[in-house]
Amino acid sequence: MVRQISRRAVLRLLGGASVLTALSACSPPSPTPTPAPPAEAPKPAAPPTPTPAAAAPVSAPPARIKFQSRGGDAILKVTQTLVAEFKKAFPRIEVEIDHTTGDHFQKVQLGVAAGNPPDVYFDASLRTGGLGWKKGIIEDLEPYLRRDFNPDEHIKEMWIAMVYDGRRIAVPFDSGAMALFFNIDLFNQAGLPLPDPKKRLTWDELLQLATRLTLDVNGKHPGEPGFDPTRIKQYGFAPTLLHGHEHWIYTLGGEIINKEGKVTVASPEAIEGYQKLADWGVKHFVGPSPEYKQANPVGFAAGNVAMSEEGVWMLGRTNDAKINWGVAPFPMQKIPVSYGHYSGQSMTRMSKAKDAAWQWMKWVSLDKEGQTILFKGGLLQPTRKDLIEAFINDSQPPAKQYREVFYNELDPNTIRWPGQHQNSFYLGYRQYWIDAWNPRYDPVLRGKKPYREIAQEVQEILQRIIDTGEPATQ
């Protein structure tokens, strides 16, 4: 018996299967048919006040919590150490590590949607903490802190970027102050004096040093005939383009978000500051720029940047790279300004083991044992006053006088950050801000447009984000 399958029939089958594939691929990633909001679905503006039970003693019922961490291997190793040590102190609380190297916040959201979120997660500040709080994922820690936290034991600046709508929503797990890192060997090779850890460089001083420290592959400095910005051997200065970059505006007396909640990125100070930030790369040619991507990895830990604005969280990685380094305060123009923030771990509101979760958070982030492991692992600049000396006198580089800079930079008289007047980092909308800001500032960074050309438009868009609490749609 002869059967026939035409080529058309085969192709129809394939085509049909393709359309089905497209149909399935078009569905949003991993939605759930039955949404799983918490029974106590909280209102962001007026979150429910939890009633924490007494601190779980050794005799407390056994509990199991899931801690979601994120980042590279270094953070995972520290987390594993924390879990092992925590287990000794609280043998009845089992901590499961759920580590992710990618988009950790997506994972949190999927866990929430599936009704299986982590009990505690890191990182919950800056970009995502505000939204996590406003959308009702993150638990209000005020009741726990009122019971278990002694403010006299910690520095006051520990809560930057972890307070939203007047509520503390995380406890420190990572980070601390930012400062100007410098490579001592590169300074010595250039025959230049090292920056003073107690004195801020002015912009002019910084430019002079950076120009002499910048070399193209032919050994020429910026401004010399034949200097090639596309073939750089070593940069003199890399300003931060992310965390703390706002100091370029604050030091001129400008604001990002003023006391009235108005975005002021079109002020004369902001225009000058944001332009200066771009000029390091595309006018002075002393710093990395997206316009001149180099063949080799560029960075302070790569050893080819003489001065770089970095956070204390780079301490471990810089030492791993065997850099001979020192630290100075952020540069200034008119007003001395510094910056720092802590990246926290937060409890999810849907956690079914909140007491055990808080026990973990407290031990790791507030108690001496946990903070010691975090700072020894190169993650955290301790917030505990009784660990400051240990941090400053630590035998690992940089030297003591440089380690002190990190605490000097947390001086409440100099530290500035957007949303400071409202005590709410970017008023909780950092992610929206970044997505609106980056594509518009990009041509400025590449030297294609002056900042003043985009300032007014950017200001209006960012103001709308703050006013509406919605992401930009243009």
């Binding site: 359309v19 497209a22 078009c26 949404p35 180099q294």
Partner: protein
């Protein structure tokens, strides 16, 4: 009863045979159908429901009717931008990848020594993971030291800033896409090898040149393969995401961008942002369904057009 499958038979199948054919067909696609029904249909239908709601994952969805769909086209300029970028990308990537894959397949269909090695080399890039692919192309497309621009300069051509000039961002992504045409090449190659040799011989007897043979034998006989790759190309290019995400997300910051001045804000990237950064799962679901409709419409148009340009040997007989 022994059932023999034969392509191109002159006998006309009866009802029984057609039923048997259908059963065999269903048996082949059953695993995929079961997977779709058990694991994907639920989420797909849920996303349809969510698309008519305001759903932020945490709180229960609230019915808003067509609001999300209306907002997409009336109040969201970034959405229109993402649509434009994706259409531009697809308009370049689909025809170029078809032409390139077809030409490569023609080359790989030659009887020369070491052809298996060449075929393997052409297929290898399709096996490179997207992340490695992205990192590789970041280097290849560097304006100042990348090999692509090195050769362009050697040829006296302008060397664009592929990944930092908004005008060149999409062409750069298309170039990356073309590097992975190995799958399409393989399918074309299979089609080319299925062209009956006697047709070429008959054409030669009639004095046909290589062009005549290509135009009147090879192209018609492989038109169904072109059709298949075209449909797959439409589906694939409109869903481009991972390469954009990898290339424009600096690893140290984990902050994804959409290229210079949002020049690479492709549809699915914007969908992803709404779903997983903005807590707008309902809105993102609406985006997903509009994308489905776009792909479905284009696919149906291509299906409708096939009568004019796709040659099916069995049908003609």
């Amino acid at each position: 009863m022994i059932s023999v499958l034969r392509v191109g038979s002159r006998s006309r199948p009866g009802l029984r045979y057609r039923l048997q054919e259908a059963l065999i067909g269903w048996a082949f696609i059953l695993p995929a159908v079961l997977g779709l029904l058990f694991f994907q249909l639920g989420p797909v239908l849920a996303s349809l429901y969510f698309s008519f709601t305001n759903y932020d994952i945490v709180t229960p969805p609230k019915w808003v009717g067509l609001t999300n769909y209306v907002r997409l086209f009336t109040a969201d300029r970034l959405y229109i931008k993402s649509l434009t970028v994706t259409a531009y990308y697809s308009a370049l990537a689909i025809p170029l990848s078809l032409v390139v894959a077809y030409l490569v397949a023609l080359l790989m269909n030659q009887r020369v020594r070491g052809i298996s090695l060449y075929r393997t080399l052409w297929y290898l890039p399709s096996l490179v993971p997207a992340t490695a692919n992205g990192v590789l192309w970041l280097w290849l497309l560097n304006r100042d030291f990348g090999p692509v621009n090195f050769f362009l300069r050697l040829a006296g051509l302008p060397a664009p800033a592929w990944l930092s000039d908004p005008n060149w961002t999409v062409p750069a992504l298309v170039l990356v896409h073309l590097w992975g045409v190995g799958n399409a090449v393989l399918i074309f190659l299979a089609g080319l090898q299925g062209v009956p040799q006697h047709l070429y011989e008959a054409a030669e007897v009639d004095g046909a040149t290589w062009w005549h043979k290509f135009r009147h034998v090879t192209l018609p006989m492989t038109s169904s393969i072109i059709f298949f790759n075209l449909v797959m190309g439409i589906i694939g290019t409109f869903q481009v995401f991972s390469i954009v995400y990898i290339i424009f997300t600096p690893p140290a910051t984990e902050i994804g961008t959409a290229g210079p001045e949002n020049a690479a804000l492709v549809y699915v990237l914007y969908l992803y942002r709404n779903a997983f950064q903005y807590f707008k799962m309902g809105y993102a679901s609406a985006m997903a369904w509009v994308l489905l409709l776009i792909i479905l419409t284009l696919t149906l148009l291509v299906f409708r057009s096939q009568g004019r340009w796709v040659y099916y040997e069995a049908v003609r007989r």
